[in-house]
Each structure stands twice: as C-alpha cells, then as structure tokens.
C-alpha cells in the first residue's frame, strides 16, 4: 500500500472527525498514463501525464457531502476540510446517510488478482510504445484490401494507478492496478464521399495477454472494408446476431435499471421485479470481482465493502439489485454493491460463425450508433450497422437502420448465447442470437 497516499487519506479522515464529522471516508490515488498515437507514417500525438487526487466523504450531524481535490499538500487539505464540513452542515438531515456497517469490510480477498504487471510496465518504454504504433500501422497497410486505405491511426498506451481508501470506522485498504492497450483505426474509400472506418483494439492488465499486432491491424482494416457499400434494409422484423464486442451496449440497458437509485426513485422498469423471470432462460449474468487479471477486478468497492461473486441475472431471473449503503437503507434491503466489476455470462456452445449459420437469414450487428432507452418503461431504440446475412454468410453491409423494442419483450427473444466472451473489456459479453425483432430502415 502506498504510504504517502495512505497518510493523505488518513489525515483527511482524522481531520474530518476532528472538525465534527461523526463519520468520514477518504480515498486518494495517483496514476500515470502514457500514450503514443501514430498516423500515416508519423508521430501524431505523444502524451504522458501523472494525476493525483483525493475525495473525502463527510457524514456530519446526519448530513452528507462528497468533496474532491487534486491539491494534496497538507495545508491545502486542512482548508479543504474546514470548508467541506461547514458546507455539509448547511444541508438537510438524511437518516439514511452513514458509513457501511464494518461487518461488510470483513473477509476481503487479499491474494494476487494479477492486476499490476510490474515487468510489462517497466518494459514498455517510450521507444517501445512508438515502435508498437509503427508496427500496428504496418500491419494495417499489409493486410488484404489495403489498397482502399485513406488513413491509418494507431495507438499504444499504458496506465498505472495506486489508490487507498480509509474510513473512520476501521477501514484501511489499498491496491495497485495497471492496464495496457493497443488500437488501430482504418479509414477506407467507399462510394461517393463515404469513408467508413474500421477499428480494433485490445486492452489487458497483463502486457503478454494483448492480442497480436498483426491481428489488430488486419481486424481494423477488415472491419472498415466490411462497411463499404452499406445501405439500409427495408423496415421489418428480422432475426439478428449481436457481435460480442458490441453486445455490452444492449446489456447496459439491463444493468442501469438494476441500480439502487433507479429502483428507489421508481425510474426502473425492473423495480419490484426481484426474483421474477423477465428474460430468456439463456441469459445468466454474474458480477465477478475476483476474476484473475480482470480489467475491473477488485476485492472491495468504492465504499470499501468486500466484494464477492454476485449473480445479477440467473437463467432470466433477476437475482440482485446494485445497492450501495445509502439506497439499501432507503429501500430497507441489505446492501450488495453500488457498481459492477467484471460481468461474465453463461456460455453457449457455438462461436459467431455457428450462430450465424443457425440464424440463416437476418442481420449481424457489428456496431451501435446513438439511441437510448427509457429506463422507466424499458422502451429502447438504437442505431445499428452490420451485415445482412443469408445462409449464414454476409452478403451486404447495412447501415442507417434502427433496432427498437421494449427490453422486457426483447430479451425474451434471446435464443442462443455464444461461447466467445469478449475478453478485452470488463463486460465479457459473448455474441448473442435473437429471434425476430423490429428493425427500421427504408
């Protein structure tokens, strides 16, 4: 645990209590991020920065506030606390505001989750970052179809973060995490003025787990080329497959309504539905905070509460809401956690090609564009792009189309889950096959 950060957080908590707070929690962090972007044969942007900050959450005479600063010098923090405590006293009393019961700090996992790759960060020198971006561009330019390229942008970055959380009722935790990413974007010529872009990337906590440069480059170009000649299809009800790397966009509209504030404020179409089967039996989503080398793995949450595996949806049944201490108290329920970490899914047996083969005719969604969801009703409408599929194979690109429905009906159409979880994100969604759903186009 970083001693300097620990001292900063402890000083904040101690200072808050000294000023009259009955409870206080402070987090402090320091992070370093380096990025190189390379475009069309030359350096485009080099960025390298160190960031630090602290947040103190105050519980004063039954009142609450949260205050953040990046000025961590002791004399500045003292004044920061003076004003924070005084400001909190002006607010209304809220009986539901309090620190978590210390029992929720217990039994925390203290093993190695492989979230900081010491060797990987040491070896990724500025020169290596730069040469990686050059190699990525080379990979795009030597992939099949490169003659259609207009522009190539590549990037290589890594970040390292140390953080601590201290609370006045006995919490003191810290961790060190890091990640690596590489990416490529390929802009290609199309009919008229259209210049579709394809992109690909990998992001991991361990450098050795990044995808190969050759794969990222070729994948970016292939995705750009696949969008050429796209056009809307006639409006209608079609079967569809949602590719793994973009399925998280759909899942977001299930996850957000699980949030405690949405439930308590009656803004959620899932309010009052705990224990009910609302979705296809094919859908099982588990929050897995202790996944080895998971991008969002963590043994404790933002309040310091110990995190454990938490099934959210089990074979279509809503099993848990995301409840921090405050909204759990307001709802008179036991707290779970206020936010998700890694989300893993019960896998099916087929990969993307297999799902398309089973679907036969329909739409493969490879990208979403804009759109939104009404969290109170579940109505949604999302722009999509992808491929029109016949006999399990892509025959032409589609764009300028919308997918619309109501989540309470839409997810009942989930017919099959792939065996291909996308590992370069915290939501490790597999590809998803749906029955006939509503698309608008021409």
């Amino acid at each position: 645990m970083n001693r300097e950060l620990l001292e900063t957080a402890a000083r904040l908590v101690e200072g808050a209590v000294k000023r009259g707070a009955q409870g206080a929690r402070a987090s402090a962090y320091r992070s370093h991020e380096s990025t190189v972007e390379w475009r069309d044969g030359k350096l485009d942007r080099l960025q390298d920065s160190t960031q630090k900050g602290a947040t103190v959450t105050l519980f004063v005479d039954g009142r609450y506030s949260s205050n953040t600063t990046c000025d961590l010098r002791p004399e500045a923090l003292a004044r920061f606390l003076d004003e924070g405590v005084a400001m909190t006293r002006v607010l209304a009393v809220d009986p539901h505001r309090h620190l978590p019961d210390p029992k929720h700090y217990a039994a925390r996992f203290d093993g190695d989750l492989r979230l900081y790759d010491t060797t990987g960060h040491a070896e990724l020198t500025p020169d290596v970052r730069r040469s990686t971006t050059q190699q990525l561009e080379e990979a795009v330019r030597t992939a099949p179809g490169a003659e259609a390229l207009i522009s190539v942008t590549t990037a290589c970055s890594n970040s390292e973060t140390e953080s601590v959380v201290v609370a006045s009722n006995g919490l003191q935790v810290g961790r060190q995490v890091g990640d690596f990413s590489i990416s490529a974007e390929a802009s290609v010529r199309d009919q008229g003025d259209r210049k579709p872009e394809g992109s690909s990337y990998g992001a991991t906590t361990e450098r050795s787990a990044l995808p190969s440069i050759a794969w990222v480059g070729a994948d970016a170009l292939a995705r750009g080329l696949a969008l050429r000649g796209s056009a809307p299809q006639k409006s209608g009800q079609y079967a569809c497959v949602v590719e793994n790397r973009v399925a998280s966009r759909l899942l977001r509209d299930i996850l957000q309504p699980l949030n405690g504030q949405a439930i308590q404020q009656q803004r959620s179409y899932l309010a009052g539905k705990l224990g009910e089967r609302l979705f296809s039996q094919k859908l099982t989503i588990i929050d897995e905070p202790l996944l080895q080398a998971g991008l969002a793995s963590r043994p404790y949450d933002g309040e310091g509460m110990t995190r454990q595996r938490l099934p959210l949806i089990d074979k279509g049944v809503v099993r848990a809401f995301l409840l921090d201490t405050y909204y759990a108290s307001k709802l008179n329920l036991a707290p779970t956690t206020g936010s998700t970490t890694n989300l893993v899914f019960e896998r099916g047996t087929q990969d993307l090609a297999g799902l398309l083969e089973t679907m036969g005719t329909g739409i493969l969604i490879t990208g979403f564009s804009g759109g939104n969801s009404n969290s109170a009703t579940g109505d949604f409408s999302l722009g999509i792009r992808g491929q029109w599929i016949e006999r399990g194979k892509p025959v032409r690109a589609v764009s300028e189309m919308n997918l619309a429905g109501n989540h309470l009906q839409f997810w009942k159409e989930l017919a099959e889950v792939g065996n291909d979880p996308f590992s370069y994100a915290s939501i490790q969604a597999p590809s998803l096959r749906f029955g006939a759903v509503q698309f608008s186009g021409l």
């Binding site: 080099l46 506030s65 004003e83 005084a86 259209r194 409006s235 109505d379 300028e400």
Partner: protein, 512 residues
Amino acid sequence: MKRMNRRQFIEATAQGMAVLTLPPLLSHCVKDSGNSQATLTNLGDGFAGFGVDRALLARVLDHGLKRGGEFCEIYLQHKISHWVGLEDGQVNRASTQVDLGAGIRVLKGDATGFAYSEDLSETALLAAAATAASMADGTRTVTPRELKAATFKSQYPVLTSWSEVGVDKKIPVLEQVDACARKRDPRIIKVTSYVNDESCRILIANSEGLLVEDEQPMVVLTANCVAEQNGKTETGGHSEAARDGLGFLSPLRAEAVAQRASDHTVLLFDAVASPVGELPVVLAPGISGILLHEAMGHGFEADFNRKGISIFADRLGQRVAPAGVTIVDDGTGAIRGSINIDDEGTPGQRTVLVEDGFLRSYLHDRISAKHYGVPSTGSGRRESFRFPPVPRMRNTTMQNGDKHPDEILASVKRGLYAEVFSNGQVQIGAGDFTFYLKHGRLIENGKLGPYVKDANLIGSGPKVLAAVQMVGNDMKMESGAGYCGKDGQRVPVGFGLPTLKVGAMSVGGRRA
C-alpha cells in the same frame, strides 16, 4: 481584481467550497451590457493569481522548444465546481471539485507532444515541458518571443464568482423546483433537481508571445420527474444553462424549469409508440438543432478534414445544402457554448460554415489553420488542462428561412414532428448520424396528432442536408446543459434551429 502573490494564491486555491454566502455579496452576477473589459493589466506581476510570473512562463516555454519543437504553449486552469442536489423533497447532498493544473503542448508540423502537471512549481512545470518536448528529437530551431498581454471585451463579465456563492443561496431554488413540479401535476411522485456551477479561470501563454486569460462561469439548473398513472410510470426532465452568475437562478427560471420537466413527463402517458421507417420529419425549433451538431457540425471540424477522413473533406466551396440553408457556429454571447477566447487564446467568434447552401469554412484550431493556411476560427477547445485542444463546435445554429411554421406543418400529409431530444452520435467518415427523440407528435394531414416517444432517428448527414425542403422563420436557441464528447473530452455546447422540414429520415419506432 485583487492581486495575489504566489503564496496567497496557493493558499486560496484550496478554497474550493463555498460554504455560506459571504457578505457583502451582490444578489446576482450582472451581465454588463456596457463596455466591461476583461483587461489584463493585472498580469504584470500576479498573472491573475496563478502564482506564476512572466519569467517562469518564459522559462517553461523555452524549455519546451529545446528538442526542436516549433511552438510551445502553457495552459493554466483553476476550476471550482459545485453540485447541490435535491431528492425526496430534501436538499441533502452536495459535492465539490477543485481542479488546478497546467497543460503544456509542443507542436512540430501536425504532431503534438503533450503533458500536464497538477503541481505548479517550477520543477514540475519544467518536467512537463521536457516530456512534451520529447515528441521532437532534434535541436532548438525556435526561440520564444517576449510575452505580451492581450485584452478583449468579455461577453460574460464576472462580478461575483460562483466560488463566493454559498449553498444557502441554492437550497431555496431547489426547494422551489420541487414544489412547482409537484404542484404542476398531481401525478408527479418523485422530483430530483440539482444546481451545478463552475468558476473556471484560464491563462494561456505561448512561444509566439501571446499571454491572455479568461474567467468562465457556468451554471446549470436541472429538474427530473417521475410520474405515475394507473400503475405505469414515466420519467422526463428539463435543464437550462448559461455562462452566468447567481442571477440565473431566479424564481422565474426555477418555476419554468420545474413546469417543463413536469409537462415533459406527464405527456408521455398519452404518447403512442413511434412509427417505423422512412417518413418526412419536421424538426421543432430549438433543441432539434442537435441535427446540425451531429449531421453536419462534426463533419465540418477541420481535424477530420485535414486527415481526409470526414465525409465533407475536399468539399469547401461546393454546394452541400439547398439554397436558403445557412449554418453558423458562434462563440460569442453568454450562452452554453460561448467563449471569450478558445483554449488556444484565439478570440471566440462567429464562423459561417454553410452560406446559402455552399460550404464556406471548417472549424479550425491552430494545427488545422496552419495546415489549410487560414486563420484559426477560435474553435480549439479542451475539457481541461489534462487534454490538448482540438477543433470543436461552440453554439451551432441554422439561420432563419422564410417559411411560417404553420405552412411547413401544412405541407406534410403524414410525418413526424420531432420536439425534444436527449442525445445523438455520428460516424464521421460514413456520415451516418443519429439523434434520440424523447417525444414528438405525429403529423396527420398537415396537423399535429398524438404524442409519440422514444425513437432513434438515423440518416446520412449529406443526404439529410440535401433533403432540407423548408426552413422556418422562427429560429430558437436551446438553452439546456448540452455536452459534446470527442476524443474522450467533453465540452459545453449550444445549438439552435428554426422549424425545419426534411424530406425523409428513418424513424426507429416500435409501431410496425
């Protein structure tokens, strides 16, 4: 403005939170309609309280050019943000954020080296300059010029900073919003409301001798409602924002925000599902200007065109819209996207993008302006000192046409009248854009029919621009809390539109 020495400033910067209103405090921050001048006479030794002096800035700029960079810039920012919220009838939550730091940028050709520091000591600033300088790998070619303070007339002079306005001044506003929204309609069962204000001071110095500062206030008032009817719930909301002071939070505004939030919520009980497929669309004046922002505005940002990846690349001087269509991006005024200066120090200004259907200009920052050999349009913007600037929109509008709104409606036999939107997105290269309709009306035989809700509208920017058929004479600015995201950076923007008829757009409804 009171001068501060470096020590006083360092102490003052920790004072992020306004606790109680401090006497003597003006009742509001007046927007001076006269000749208020954000003069920089105080830059002589205090540098607007940033605790740095001319000599230190000169040393940092010099250090940034040691490796062969052609241009170096330092952007200092001190921002204090407050958020105060109401839920379940009580103003029982608040947060504060203090940001202080410097972003240092070195340019060579189109390439950028960038680093930032939250420590304004000389050691830290020189280290950041060295990091930014490392994008070049040669020897010095440029020597910084002597810094000379620039002045301008502020569009939003600040008499009382938000950092001096206490929470006690905001609590009654939120309580009024809650009461007004519930009184407006008994079906309202939940109200959340918040005030978000910012006091942001920036100072920019560069190796060409520019030295300029600005103070940028911002205030947002938002209300969100939940209504219940026959066991069904609906949500809606409304927000208003401006570069203004406490006077913005008037009882009249609180009432208006509450009533619109309430109205936008309960009308949804009467709404039917939106239709599906291509329809004529009439865009209501105001927030529908999001169409300009997504369908055209991003495509006009010069970085995408410089790289040749925008659908509007190489279209300068060409017709991109029917005659009568004029689109402007305007940094002047004191509304959401207004800026006295951009984040490179170029004066905020009015830029005609499309004039009577012809593409006249892109939106330029320093890099693209140099690339195209034109002056910057004052469009180089950044979220904070933690980011380098890129070309961004400010307040984007379409100018009035000559049609009465009733005439436009009467021309549509069956279509969609699009009123309130929540968000949008665009694929820059393909030109495909979307914007999400929160609610609107069906048009049946030239008249407004039932409400519809929750549909994504999608189209190709150039095709939709070419399909503009009628432009109304009722241009209205949107005054909400709009943000634009690009390159991982969010900046406040505004937009406006007169009533506008587009021949056909694809409507993503649920009613087959």
